[in-house]
Symmetry: C2
Subunit: 184 residues, 2 copies
Amino acid sequence: MNRKPAKEYTTEQQLPRLGTKPYRDLLERTANSDTDRDSALTGLLMLWVGDSVLDVMDIHLSDYDITESKMDILLLIFLHQDQELVTPSSIADRLGIRRSSVTSLLNWLDKRDLIIREPYSKDGRMTHIRLSPEGSGLVQRVLPVFWSTCASLVDELDKEERELFNKMLVKLNRGIEKRLGAGR
Amino acid sequence: MNRKPAKEYTTEQQLPRLGTKPYRDLLERTANSDTDRDSALTGLLMLWVGDSVLDVMDIHLSDYDITESKMDILLLIFLHQDQELVTPSSIADRLGIRRSSVTSLLNWLDKRDLIIREPYSKDGRMTHIRLSPEGSGLVQRVLPVFWSTCASLVDELDKEERELFNKMLVKLNRGIEKRLGAGR
DNA sequence: TGAATTTGATTAGATTATCTAACTAACAGG
DNA sequence: CCTGTTAGTTAGATAATCTAATCAAATTCA
């Protein structure tokens, strides 16, 4: 979590910012000849931005003492509530993590009374997961912040650029989801 | 790490893929009125793609038994080697993590003889970090894969789109780095 | 019908990447 | 030469993951 360290002391001897040039040089020297240079640099940038973007969201969510993984689960339950049977298995399946991982996440949420586990009458092996009133409240308090944080991520782009950007992200998302075999 | 679970069993009862519509509806219902809807959706998509992109890189690096954080450090050393004094402090500073975190990462790398810690003669408190021959070798073996993975991330875009995409990422990166106060 | 297999959830135990706080050694300045 | 600061480490914690094992319920099938 706490990806925003409070600056221990100001370090004296700093490494200079490199910018992109050294990476471009490195790329030239170390990539296979069949790797497209421009693509590689763009991909690298996407990696950097992707990282930062997650950090930004983490920081905003931390005001609510919740992490992205936990918010993910709460949101998933919220979205399917009263429509589908939400179980640890189905959550694991959807998030692409193991059931045991979901169990620990749910334990944490349960301990804080954000969710309710109730036995599923039609199949004694399953547990139905619901949001508690507290969980619902939290989701509803967090969502406006979540959305405004999302919006702030693309602040630097004007309307036209954003539209283009969105279109490309949709393409990329499709491609990558296919590769990873997961999705929303 | 292992973000590609080997599918424990095939779950029967799955939650349906939602796609973006439910998120669009949710946004409508739960965002502040001053949050731009299109921006928020684009930001959300960026969050998703950012996540996937890191997963993809993780998977490719795992063939070399190394993680992104560790590769980050090795690359940082590699890029500054013989030009600047690389120390745990300066690494911490650059990566935006605490010195103690760097210590554990370095311990891991050290145990596998990928780096060398040598006392810095001009200041007895400092340690100079270098790549060992093994570390150098690893970096050189990993880099081609690293680059081709980067390039593969934007496979779905054609040349023109990629150029535009790159331009926008540069903008976004600048903005976000300013907010986070870190950078390369 | 009853034994064997499958499935859902959990537990136990490990790893990775972080953090804060405390400590030690070395340096720097009066 | 004493005091405070800095560099690195250690100790101990938490979060998010994993695999393997266990237990109970459901299903299958001979």
